[in-house]
């Protein structure tokens, strides 16, 4: 992430992720970038993948009813020999129609409405999947090695101030284009290494708050939890860390400040269903921040670093160093404690 929000090309992130090729098995990789659509930065950008041409018409009809489609085009791709199957990929720049929000039965914010739309399309319209839905940001992902996917989406042509990338070794679900990471909703994007043992309860908790999980990847719950806790419950990242990966009871008892103790205890009592158990290392980004954290007993590696220009978070130190990262200021992320980087805008 560029500290001051100045855009950088996709070459560095590509080098970095390819350095860790060993960690994946070619069944999923992807990129997320922020600040890539400066000309359309006030519009919601939906990246949608279609199975062949099926679903295109239904989806576009649905969108036309609720939105003004300012601009729509296929996502520019390049044919890569080794990718046998590629879905149809489109992007739409949308503005919500004024009357749409008024017609809603429950008074929704615009963000809630976007989520509702995405959930509707993903759940009800067959052969169609929205995999990016933020403003001035985009996720590019699919089934393939990072270099293949990077080449396919022409990553090098984009300039963004935050870049996320992931290489997957899926174990629990069949590999599909929508299942690769990063996973995103609104302007959140999440990359995740791990397996969520508490998925069953996290999912049910979220479903009752209106987030529909596609059941094909457990990373979704982390994304939706961040949205729920940050945007709707208005907690800061520090508190979210204490909810998703709380300290142990014996650690809470040792905290000296009584007020702090009471807060930690109350968070655990109220948000018990949001505790994410099982190993995980995640990097989460939104338009102004990049956060990295691991589970409470650090079963997955995560390192972070900073220099004058950039912030870095990665699974391995090598991935930071290979792109010229700082040799001095690299540190291990502490178990259960989020590392939070915020953009300080130049202008």
């Amino acid at each position: 992430m560029a500290r001051n929000g100045m855009p950088l090309g996709g070459d560095r992130i590509l080098t970095s992720i390819c350095n860790m090729m060993e960690r994946g098995n070619g069944l999923g990789s992807g990129f997320a970038a922020y600040g890539i659509y400066p000309d359309f930065k006030d519009y919601w950008c939906f990246h949608i993948m279609y199975n062949e041409t099926k679903g295109i018409e239904t989806t576009e009809n649905y969108l036309e009813q609720k939105f003004h489609i300012i601009h729509s085009e296929p996502i520019p791709t390049k044919r890569v020999r080794s990718l046998f199957y590629t879905p149809r990929l489109h992007r739409y720049f949308l503005k919500v129609q004024e009357k749409t929000l008024e017609k809603e039965i429950y008074s929704l914010t615009e963000e809630d409405f976007i989520i509702k739309t995405v959930m509707f399309i993903n759940k009800n319209i067959k052969d169609s999947f929205v995999f990016s839905s933020g403003k001035n940001m985009g996720i590019f992902k699919g089934v393939g090695q990072p270099d293949e996917i990077g080449e396919f989406y022409k990553i090098l042509d984009y300039k963004g101030y935050i870049w996320l990338s992931h290489n997957r070794f899926p174990t629990n679900t069949v590999a599909w284009w929508g299942g690769a990471h990063p996973f995103g909703i609104l302007d959140w994007s999440v990359v995740h290494n791990g397996e969520i043992s508490s998925y069953g309860i996290n999912r049910r908790y979220l479903e009752n708050s209106g987030y529909f999980c596609t059941l094909f990847t457990d990373t979704e719950v982390i994304t939706y939890l961040f949205d729920l806790l940050y945007r709707k419950h208005k907690h800061d990242f520090q508190t979210i860390g204490d909810i998703l990966a709380p300290p142990f009871w014996f650690q809470i008892e040792r905290v000296e400040d009584e007020n702090c103790r009471r807060i930690l205890k109350s968070l655990r009592i109220v948000y018990a269903s949001a505790l994410v158990n099982g190993p995980f290392g995640v990097i989460v980004a939104n338009s102004e921040s990049m956060v990295g954290m691991t589970d409470r007993i650090k079963l997955r590696p995560l390192v972070a670093g900073e220099d004058d220009e950039f912030y870095y978070i990665a699974s391995e130190e090598a991935a930071i160093r290979i792109i010229g990262g700082p040799t001095k200021n690299i540190f291990q992320v502490e178990a259960g404690k989020p590392v939070i980087f915020k953009v300080k805008w130049q202008r």
Binding site: E195, S197, Y199, G200, F248, N259, Y271, G278
Partner: protein, 506 residues
């Protein structure tokens, strides 16, 4: 001749070579099974009186006694089981309702035995509970949807108030067993063990005996239809108050304490005359509909200044999901659901075995319904009714319970052998009786140690199972149906339980 005098379920076998005629068995049996013949210097045993409690067998210093099942033959008849034949013979004799004790013993499908648990491998490391922290702490009570903060003097402060909670070190509590149905020594054993372990026990509907006041801070008191022992002292001393609407062993009818078990002390604690049958009415006569229940819940809250948790115990029946929803919307902080396998001190056998539904399905249905309505956090769910081992507890929590009540299991740890004769008041183990000869036999020091050991053993087993699943906090297991798989179950059952079939991955 139509009169049948002898129904012999057990055979008492004595090894004459080993028997030293110490007469311990003769003195100890409350059913007068053994008799010493001084002339012949021998001990004779009248098997037809034997209840099958195995006390003499355990006590005999030379292990000379064996209690066997009497395999006397009625012609094999799958429809007319022996039990039904003999029940009719008994009813022809007495013209009365056949009573029984403990929980339903019939061969109904046990869903816990058809559910298996997951373990993590390769992709997700299992956690070793002997080396890593493993948290079983559970909070029972109403919880807000979210938390808001404010700042005071630049310090972050809690704005949302958390209502009172019951803090348990383990998601297992001792179930409601009244003073009257069990002896004071038995209650004391459980009270001591519960307080020492950090969990709660329940007075049942018989009031709180004075000797147990020191343990009342970890006690849940019951307000049942008979309102035995309910006064302000009772309510204020408790950690929580439970309105008993029904219990799993006898849904639809009230508690039953035969007059033989109403001693002077019982009479004082329950505030009823000595020697009379204590029959709790079937409904609370001031709760004829849900709004009446709401009135009672809030009356109790007002009287205890909103500082106590008020829960409601209901039996698992067909409409359990809407009933539980209604109870929660009436203001209860927790709802305890007692399934068909729940135990009792005395109940008509026909009701115990035929009324109610299994707790596994009830919990799954209630948890699902509450989540659909978005009110799951407004109350905790406690499951009860025939939990036999720690894996049952884990499965119940995964289906949606916050905690579990154990009754029969607790009594078995004190010596009970499930002879189902609790209603006679002649329990040789000193548990389900008020006879001072018999209650002496249960030393609360020993009883408390055994009940504590039970909790400890189960907590260790639960930690092992959690660790195996890759979970280190019990809140990640609650309602986590992904960790369960069913087998030998049809589609409908899987749907109601909300779990997948073995073989299905994510």
């Amino acid at each position: 001749m139509a009169k049948i005098k002898r129904i012999c379920e057990f055979l008492v076998e004595r090894d004459e070579d080993k028997c030293i005629k110490c007469q311990a068995c003769v003195r100890m049996c409350s059913n007068d099974v053994h008799k010493y013949d001084g002339e012949e210097n021998t001990i004779r045993s009248e098997s037809s009186k034997c209840a099958g409690c195995h006390f003499c067998e355990q006590l005999c210093p030379t292990a000379a006694i064996t209690i066997k099942k009497n395999m006397y033959a009625l012609r094999e008849n799958y429809n007319w089981q022996k039990e039904y034949v003999y029940d009719i013979l008994r009813q022809a004799e007495t013209g009365g309702v056949i009573l029984t004790g403990m929980g339903c013993d019939k061969k109904y499908k046990n869903y816990f035995d058809r559910i298996v648990l997951n373990a993590s491998q390769v992709t997700n490391p299992s956690i070793d509970p002997l080396r890593e922290p493993m948290e079983l702490k559970t909070f029972i009570g109403k919880k807000p949807n979210s938390i808001r903060f404010t700042t005071q003097n630049e310090e972050k402060m809690l704005k949302t108030e958390i209502p009172p909670q019951l803090e348990l070190e383990i998601p297992i509590m001792f179930s409601a067993m009244s003073f009257g149905s069990i002896s004071l020594n038995a209650m004391k054993s459980l009270a001591i063990a519960a307080k020492k372990f950090g969990t709660c026990w329940n007075t049942g509907e018989g009031g709180l005996p004075e000797q147990l006041y020191p343990y009342s801070d970890k006690c849940i008191v019951q307000v049942a239809s008979g309102r035995f022992g309910v006064d302000i002292n009772y309510l204020e001393k408790a950690a929580a108050i439970e309105i008993k609407i029904g219990q799993g062993a006898k849904p639809g009818i009230g508690g039953h304490l035969p007059g033989e078990k109403v001693s002077a002390e019982i009479s004082r604690t329950r505030i009823i005359p000595e020697g009379t049958d204590a029959l709790s009415p079937a409904p609370h006569h001031d709760i004829y509909s849900i709004e009446d229940l709401k009135q009672l819940v809030f009356a109790l809250k007002e009287v205890t200044l909103y500082k106590k948790i008020i829960g409601v115990k209901i039996a698992a029946v067909h409409n359990i999901a809407p009933i539980a929803t209604g109870v929660i919307r009436a203001g209860a902080d927790y709802v305890a659901i007692d399934g068909i396998r729940g135990g009792t001190g005395a109940a008509p056998k026909i009701i115990r075995d035929n009324v109610g539904i299994p707790v596994e399905i009830a919990i799954a249905a209630v948890d699902q319904r509450l989540r659909e309505e978005g009110i799951r956090n407004q109350a905790s769910i406690i499951a009860a009714g025939g939990f036999r081992k720690s894996s049952d507890v884990v499965k119940a929590i995964a289906l949606g319970a916050d905690a579990v009540y154990i009754g029969s299991a607790a009594l078995i740890s004190l010596g009970c052998h499930l002879c189902q004769k609790c209603y006679t008041g002649k329990c040789n183990w000193g548990i389900a009786t008020q006879d001072p000869y018999l209650t002496k036999r249960l030393n609360p020091e020993i009883g408390a140690e055994r009940a504590y050991n039970l909790l400890r053993a189960w907590s260790l087993e639960i930690k092992e199972m959690l660790g195996g699943m890759g979970i280190n906090a019990i809140e990640s297991l609650r309602s986590n149906r992904e960790q369960l798989r069913g087998f030998d179950l049809n589609e409908v059952e899987l749907k109601f339980l909300g779990i997948k079939h073995v073989g299905e991955a994510w």
